[in-house]
């Protein structure tokens, strides 16, 4: 078995994360202004406001998306908001439905009245534009096949104008399409719960107010959990997260030290 230096770096990461997870220790965290803004936004919505929660992610990013989505749904249901779930990537469909049902049960919310799930629409740009024309025409039936006009929550919901906003739960750049097509053409207020990787992508949109608020990553989920005072898997992963960051920093430093040492050797020889 031939091991290269990269194998050792792999092994080191596995050890660091496994030990951190097994320790079960949860560090104290501080809340960032971004997360606070989202929390205030949801707090500010009057009871009964209708929100679209769009599950715009693949199944593979579930480890990061689930804590975010659960924190959002818990907060929204506890504020008695009415939620309309949809999915613009096929793999998010089942996940979104499962999460909504699970959290709705925690708050004894009723399907059709407090929340509905309209399911998946392919071709996301087309779907976003189409909903700007008519939501019931875009989704004539919900996920389980009931006609949308028989769902009490959907009465009076015709276009984005009848909603308080859209929150995209995303692992990629799909939220950009919400901003550019949904927000840009129909003026709907777009916010996001996204993976940490997407944070810097959305910065210009936050700065230009094209996006209203954003919570990013497992860390964002942990912060949100702290704000709504309900623990979740965001907080459970925080020690491992911090340790893995430190591990990467350590490797970068070691890599550079080796680089400079070898450069000096090269020069002196």
């Amino acid at each position: 078995m031939k091991l290269e230096s990269r194998h050792w770096t792999f092994f080191g990461l596995a050890v660091v994360v496994v030990i951190a997870m097994l320790s079960g220790f949860q560090p104290e965290i501080t809340v960032s202004p971004d997360t606070l803004r989202m929390h205030e936004y949801i707090e500010s919505l009057p009871e009964g406001s209708k929100l679209i929660i769009s599950f715009d992610h693949e199944a593979s990013s579930l480890p990061e998306i689930r804590p975010l989505a659960v924190a959002l749904l818990r907060h929204a249901f506890s504020k008695n908001l009415r939620l309309i779930g949809i999915a613009l990537l096929s793999e998010g469909t089942g996940v979104g439905y499962g999460l909504m049902q699970q959290v709705a049960a925690e708050y004894s919310k009723e399907y059709g009245v407090d929340y509905v799930y309209l399911g998946f629409k392919p071709q996301y740009i087309a779907a976003i534009l189409s909903m700007g024309q008519s939501i019931p025409a875009t989704f004539p039936e919900d996920y389980v096949g009931q006609p949308v006009d028989q769902l009490p929550l959907m009465t009076g919901v015709e276009t984005y104008d009848d909603l308080a906003g859209v929150i995209s739960v995303a692992d990629g750049s799909l939220t950009t399409h919400w901003i550019e097509y949904g927000g840009g053409q129909y003026g709907v207020r777009v916010s996001a719960f996204g993976t940490a990787a997407m944070v810097t992508t959305y910065d210009p949109y936050l700065n230009s107010d094209q996006m209203y608020a954003m919570v990013g990553g497992l860390r964002g989920a942990a912060e949100y959990e702290k704000l709504i005072e309900i623990g979740g898997s965001g907080a459970r992963g925080m020690l491992a997260q911090t340790c893995s960051h430190l591990y990467v920093i350590l490797l970068i430093v070691i890599g550079n030290v080796l680089y400079f040492v070898s450069r000096r050797k090269g020069r002196s020889s």
């Binding site: 560090p27 593979s60 024309q133 940490a196 810097t200 990467v248």
Partner: protein, 208 residues
């Protein structure tokens, strides 16, 4: 004819959809809907069929030649199993289709995704060298972000997260904004060239 007709169709749809953007008349909106929702999706579905047939062809040929036979067979079985179980039991929650999706596809996909954590580590170790001024800037801003977004950052100095946020929201954001503007312009010119037929790569490139 082999080029002119598609070029004409391309121009027609391009001009139509461009013009429709500027109208909020219901007819205009309905028309753009029709193209964007129905035409796109239906055409895409057929191209997927073409793709699947090509995938089958490549695999069957390999099996015939005896290359990677067991693996190709597994691939084909995986591919065929999904439509079969969907046909018999449907695709809603709790069906065998969803079981395969949730317990075979999703865990493997998430794990391929999780491989990234390891590749990030090896890339950091190997590639993140302060070789030049700009490489050092890259290094420092990455380290700053990593430190600030783990809990150690706040312990080292309370200013660290504030500085990191400022860097993210100002210099970093401005570069991203310029990239956005640049790509926006690139997209506009390319799209225009496609519509008027200056850009024909999609038809197989330059004419012989």
């Amino acid at each position: 004819m082999r080029r002119k007709v598609p070029q004409f169709v391309c121009a027609l749809f391009g001009i139509l959809l461009f013009a429709l953007y500027f109208s909020s008349h219901p007819l205009a909106r309905a028309l753009s809907q029709l193209v964007l929702v129905e035409y796109w999706q239906i055409i895409f579905a057929f191209t997927l069929l073409v793709g699947v047939v090509s995938f089958l062809k490549v695999n069957l040929k390999s099996i015939e030649r005896g290359e990677d036979r067991p693996y190709r067979i597994v691939s084909l079985m995986g591919l065929l199993s999904m439509p079969i179980v969907a046909f018999f039991w449907g695709i809603k929650g709790g069906t065998p289709f969803m079981w395969i999706f949730e317990n075979i596809q999703v865990p493997m996909q998430s794990t391929v995704f999780a491989l990234l954590a390891f590749f990030v580590v090896s890339a950091s170790f190997r590639g993140f060298r302060a070789r030049s001024v700009s490489a050092s800037v890259l290094l420092v801003s990455a380290l700053l972000t990593l430190l600030a977004r783990s809990d150690v950052g706040g312990l080292l100095s309370e200013h660290l997260p504030v500085v990191a946020d400022w860097v993210r929201n100002n210099p970093s954001m401005s570069a991203r904004r310029a990239i956005l503007i640049g790509i926006g312009l690139g997209s506009v010119t390319t799209s225009l060239r496609v519509i008027v037929g200056i850009e024909r790569t999609w038809l197989g490139g330059k004419q012989q």
